[in-house]
């Protein structure tokens, strides 16, 4: 069928600068560039370009740039180009439109409407270069009270397992299969070096990564891929994945083409078969069932590891989180609407869920009101872009955050949203032998460690500015936030006051 879709981007080549080295041709995962020997020229198939910028960055003479196709439609606020083009694509394929990465629609980003406080005159700020600044965070259930019985003063009555992270930033669940082994190894190495956690996602833990298991959170998702005793024993935290911010309500889908021999062995499924996670866990149809799985995992790990439950941020997150805590979870991770994915139906990614800022504030408020906030740590995920977002999430009530997209961007991702094709030119969201070599774990783990270090230093600076020397003093401390451009209802849900008040 002839496609009616116009090219979205145009590759512009400055012929004055192009030296015909053909690096662009070799680097493009989407076969955009072609060398023609007869003309000694490079030609471009613009319609294949996804604007990942691999060729632009690798061109040794800076001869390339990618621009939006300036093609104009008759202006129509309702029938915008994206709506028209999605419809065309659907008319041509008859399927669900897939996409990658997180929600790209202009829903309000509340991080940008929250401002941080700083000390001036009446209370001193702290200089993190000269004074100690504590970012270490302990995740896990905290006791309800201190046992003050004679001879036992100041000691916990009974302490649930705790895990320490040196910075409140962990790497989100990204499964092996969705990303290459090199990428997961890079995440694992950076987490190990910096003293934080990476998350295996639902694809199991490859045998070569068991040496990093002291810094691993392992997931048990509805597909139960790669779950076995050794996997649970290796981890520091076991996470039950109920939902994901990019696609609340549906399960994961790894196409068979990406299920290589190694992926198959790690997931414990036949090679080349689609790895489809069911939408629900087939043994969880109520909060009581969730409790059974939590305690089954606690039994399996001999009560030595915190059990985390990850849900997507949806309308009733606060009540759901309360149920999860009461069901026995030690950590509740909440993934907002901007959380990313390797592949999701576009219609779901763009329309289902709620922003993480509202969800984390609502959950923290609810758990506090119920007097059970101490029973679980809260982890915010989905749309954290910089250290200010981290610190705002913590002030809204999170204990720590997960970063996924930010970590991938640190490794080279240019957020072109073509992860679902498996042709990632940056070698990240692919299991292709040729493409995945582009991530050298030595380089990528260095970039990730730099990211963690940079953000941690910035967090210390911001904390010091507020006159706080330990991150835990900021947790849920919404007095350090003020809102701008928000309605009364938004301010009320966020639990912050208007700037100036």
């Amino acid at each position: 069928m002839k496609t009616y879709l116009p090219a979205r981007f145009r590759v512009r080549r400055d012929d004055e600068r192009c030296i015909r080295c053909r690096v662009c041709e070799r680097q493009c995962g989407f076969d955009v560039h072609h060398y023609d020997e007869e003309d000694d020229s490079l030609y471009c198939d613009d319609e294949k370009c996804v604007a990942c910028h691999r060729c632009v960055v690798f061109c040794p003479t800076g001869a390339l740039t990618v621009e939006k196709n300036p093609l104009s439609y008759r202006e129509n606020y309702s029938w915008r180009p994206e709506a028209i083009e999605d419809l065309m694509k659907q008319a041509e394929t008859g399927g669900i439109l897939l996409t990658g990465m997180g929600n790209d629609k202009p829903y309000p980003i509340y991080w940008d409407k929250l401002l941080l406080n700083a000390s001036q005159v009446t209370n001193p700020s702290i200089d993190p270069l000269r004074e100690p600044m504590e970012l270490r965070t302990y995740l896990g259930r905290k006791p309800d009270r201190i046992d003050l019985a004679a001879g036992n003063i100041g000691r916990w009555t009974r302490r649930a397992p705790q895990v320490a992270i040196e910075t409140p930033i962990m790497f989100s669940a990204i499964s092996y299969g969705a990303i290459s082994l090199n990428v997961q190894e890079s995440l694992a190495r950076a987490a190990t070096e910096y003293g934080t956690f990476f998350n295996t996602g639902e694809g199991g833990l490859h045998k070569s990564l068991y040496k990093y298991s002291d810094n691993a959170i392992v997931q048990v998702a509805s597909g139960r891929f790669g779950v076995h005793q050794e996997y649970l024993d290796a981890a520091r935290v076991v996470e039950i994945k109920i939902g994901q911010g990019a696609k609340p309500g549906i399960g994961g889908h790894l196409p068979g083409e990406k299920v290589s021999a190694e992926v198959a062995a790690t997931r414990m499924i036949p090679r080349g078969t689609d790895a489809l996670s069911p939408a629900p866990h087939h043994d969880i149809y109520s909060i009581e069932d969730l409790s059974q799985l939590i305690y089954a995992l606690k039994e399996a790990t001999n009560y030595t590891k915190p059990i985390s439950v990850k849900i997507a941020a949806v309308h009733n997150s606060a009540a759901i989180a309360s149920g999860i805590v009461r069901a026995g979870a030690d950590i509740v991770a909440i993934d907002g609407i901007r959380g990313a994915t390797g592949a999701a139906p576009k219609i779901i990614r763009d329309n289902v869920g709620i922003p993480i800022e509202l969800a984390i504030a609502a959950v923290d408020s609810r758990l506090r009101a119920e007097g059970i906030r101490n029973q679980a740590s809260l982890v915010a995920a989905g749309g954290v872009r910089n250290s200010a977002d981290v610190i705002k999430a913590i002030a809204l009530g999170a204990d720590a955050v997960y970063i996924g997209s930010a970590a991938l961007i640190a490794m080279g991702c240019h957020v072109c949203q073509a992860c679902y094709t498996g042709r990632c030119s940056w070698g990240i969201a692919t299991t292709d032998d040729y493409l995945m070599k582009r991530i050298n774990p030595n380089i990528a783990s260095r970039r990730l460690t730099n990211l963690l270090r940079g953000w941690s230093l910035e967090i210390k600076e911001m904390l010091g500015g507020m006159g706080i020397n330990a991150l835990e003093s900021l947790r849920g401390n919404r007095h350090h936030l003020r809102g701008v451009g928000l309605s009364d209802t938004e301010l009320e849900i966020l639990g912050v006051r208007m700037a100036g008040s």
Partner: protein, 147 residues
């Protein structure tokens, strides 16, 4: 001595090493001029070998027992006693290509730019990091002390 080591597991076959080798051995050292303006373009002293996803770049190994040096009829190819590098003196080269035949790695090429002489890796004169190593985007080429 320090040698260039290729790590095939990280080589992505982009061939930027070849491009930057040409620039380094050009007259102007300006990438655009070297490729578009200079009358003779130098031959790359490094070559990427590729088969499917496997690739690595190959240049002179600066062998301890250099066949090319033993084979050279005029002594143009010789081992620098100070640096240990196998270097080539174009003044003495007669273009017999015997070295080319004897090199076990296929790391010597005819120098298109200078007629009869051969082109081979000179470790960029031994001054600092060679251009191929410096410009490898994936650290698939590293300069290491290899005994």
């Amino acid at each position: 001595m320090k040698r260039i080591v290729a790590r095939e597991e990280y080589c992505i076959g982009c061939r930027l090493c070849e491009v930057h080798c040409v620039v380094q051995h050009s007259r102007t050292k300006n990438i655009i001029k070297a490729f578009k303006k200079e009358r003779v373009r130098p031959t790359a002293r490094i070559h990427v070998e590729e088969s499917g996803p496997e690739s690595f770049s190959l240049q002179c190994r600066h062998c301890d027992e250099p066949s090319c040096v033993y084979a050279c009829l005029t002594g143009a190819m010789h081992k620098d006693e100070l640096t240990g590098a196998v270097v080539h003196d174009p003044e003495r080269c007669i273009g017999c290509w015997t070295c080319l035949l004897f090199c076990p790695n296929g790391a010597i090429a005819k120098d298109a730019a200078h007629g009869k002489v051969v082109a081979k890796c000179d470790l960029c004169g031994g001054q600092g990091t060679p251009a191929c190593v410096e410009n490898c985007p994936n650290e698939a080429l590293v300069l290491e002390e290899v005994p």
